[in-house]
Amino acid sequence: MNILTICRKEMNSYFRSPIAYIVMALWAVLSGFFFYFAMSFFVQRSIESQMMGQSFPMDVNEWVIRPLFSNISVIGLFLIPMITMRLFAEEKRSGTIELLVTSPVSDLEIILGKWLAAVTLYSCMLGLSLLSIGILFLFGRPDWKPMLVGFLGLLLQGGCLLAIGTWISTCTRNQIVAGVAGFAVSLLLYVLNWVSEFGSSASDKVIGYLSVQQHYESFARGVLDSKDVIFFVSLIFVGLFLTARSMESIRWRA
């Protein structure tokens, strides 16, 4: 109940401020751009293969959906810090955190409310991509189940970066610092699998395993692997746990 109250208030301020519209517009433009080029490439290849005399049809899922999902997960890296940077930093700066903390609401409810609001806004962004994917259904008959898995992957990856962004936002009262640090951490988490590509020691593998990209890749392919789901869910948990600890320290330091 309290979670919903806080979630509602956060949604309210997202849509009262330009943030919601900016991130949604940027997402629409960038994901539309990626979609357009995935489509163009697909059309070109299918014309080529017809000219070569190949008779078997090309798979839309393989040639459009998969690269599209791989690409648009990158947009999230840039936009997710914009969603989370204000969550706690602004409340700390304006002093409204005192209202929340002295109300009969637990820290967990505050954190979950805010995180859920961020996830909801992120889902709205993903919803925009449904439009372009819908176009595929007008002209073809792609398999919808891998798409669903792809969206689930985007949602899980977003949820975990949002949780980490929320944590970073509790560490500062400056929104820009929270945004930049959130972006840096997201990017780092994304490219950590490079470590395991070059090195093969046990520590390299462990670090590489922490990469968000590596676990997202199977979702983009349309494969629902419990190990990847567990990875994302536990990372969400870690992010929210760190947020809770950091919030406790606000009280000690304030």
Binding site: K9, S94, E98, L100, S103, S106
Partner: protein
């Protein structure tokens, strides 16, 4: 209603609140008096469960702030120094949000919002964005927020800071009205003495983190009114700017303990005159000036500044003449650790 025992709050390098104990009965309005950085805000934050104390304990409505913070939070309304407002919300939305946050049910909510909007006189700005409100309205919205769940205890941190005189009077009246029905126990912090006189029944004075005195307002003011401080402005008839003869004449008036010379401009000679304990010196001063043939431009009693009160309170303890009815008067704060910047 509120009990504080041996409360200490220590930060990395300084002690913000040092071993403070006091209690407040149900229905009382208590003024929390002290200069900036004295530890007022810190004490209030401990009472509202925002800060955990380093040692000591505090109870609000019978609940320990550390053991049962949820129960305490339900019974407390808190207005921090800067009202915790969301500028992008409308006033009514904000009050609804806080009401829900404080646990009001769907049924009670509209009635309570309407009621506090009426009490705090913010009905006419209900649908305005908070970012568009003036300072006075913001303060009132902040107060409305604090009382929306009809709390047993109200904690107001400098509720009149930054308001114009008219708004200050309105706010004080509002606070007095809230306490009238005896349902609210109110603690308000301030560094302005007249404010305490105007609204509170009891005063808790702290300085540099230490408790200096807790007393009723009547006792405190009568003790302070013992001596009088008067500002005098005199113009010599021949326009001479020499303050010496005037000062000597004023010093001769019976009951005067000290005459301090202030700045002089255009032949206006200004003095601060202090009286002995329990002496009314203004009539005699006026007479002396007029009889000497000078013109009397100005003569008025000066309120005592907070520093002087502290001085008086602490010196009176040193001399061993503890307050007549005072609950407790602790040792001088001179040895207290500095607590600047602790708030």
């Amino acid at each position: 209603m509120i009990k504080v025992e041996g409360l200490t709050k220590r930060y990395a390098r300084n002690v913000a609140v040092d071993n403070i104990s006091f209690h407040v009965e149900k229905g009382e309005i208590v003024g929390f008096l002290g200069p900036n950085g004295a530890g007022k805000t810190t004490t209030m934050r401990v009472l509202t469960c925002f800060l955990p104390p380093t040692s000591g304990s505090a109870w609000v409505a019978g609940f320990d702030v550390q053991q049962q913070p949820m129960e305490v939070k339900k019974r407390i309304g808190y207005l921090p120094e800067t009202p915790p407002l969301y500028p992008e919300m409308e006033v009514i939305e904000y009050l609804q949000f806080v009401g829900r946050l404080k646990g009001l049910s769907k049924v009670e909510l509209p009635d309570r919002v309407a009621e506090v909007a009426k009490i705090c006189a913010i009905d006419d700005v209900k649908y305005k964005l908070i970012s568009k409100l003036s300072k006075g309205y913001r303060q009132r919205v902040g107060l409305a927020q604090a009382i929306i769940h009809n709390p047993d205890v109200l904690i107001l941190d400098e509720p009149t800071a930054g308001l114009d005189p008219h708004q200050i009077i309105e706010t004080r009246d509002l606070i007095k009205d809230l306490a009238k029905n005896g349902n609210h126990t109110i603690i308000l912090s301030t560094h302005i003495l007249p404010e305490v006189e105007a609204t509170c029944q009891k005063v808790i004075i702290i300085a540099k983190g230490k408790l200096v005195a807790t007393d009723s307002v009547e006792n405190l003011t009568s003790r302070l009114r013992g001596s009088e401080t008067v500002a005098v402005e005199v113009m010599a008839r021949d326009g001479s700017a020499d303050p010496q003869p005037v000062q000597q004449r004023l010093e001769k008036v019976s009951g005067v303990s000290r005459v301090l010379q202030k700045e002089t401009a255009d032949g206006r000679l200004r003095f601060i005159v202090e009286s002995l304990q329990g002496r009314q010196i203004r009539p005699d001063l006026a007479k002396a000036v007029v009889e000497a043939g000078w013109s009397l431009n100005e003569l008025h009693a000066v309120g005592l500044s907070l520093e002087e009160i502290f001085l008086q309170l602490t010196t009176s303890t040193k001399e061993g003449e503890a307050s007549a009815e005072g609950d407790s008067v602790s040792e001088t704060p001179a040895a207290a650790v500095h607590a600047e910047g602790a708030q």
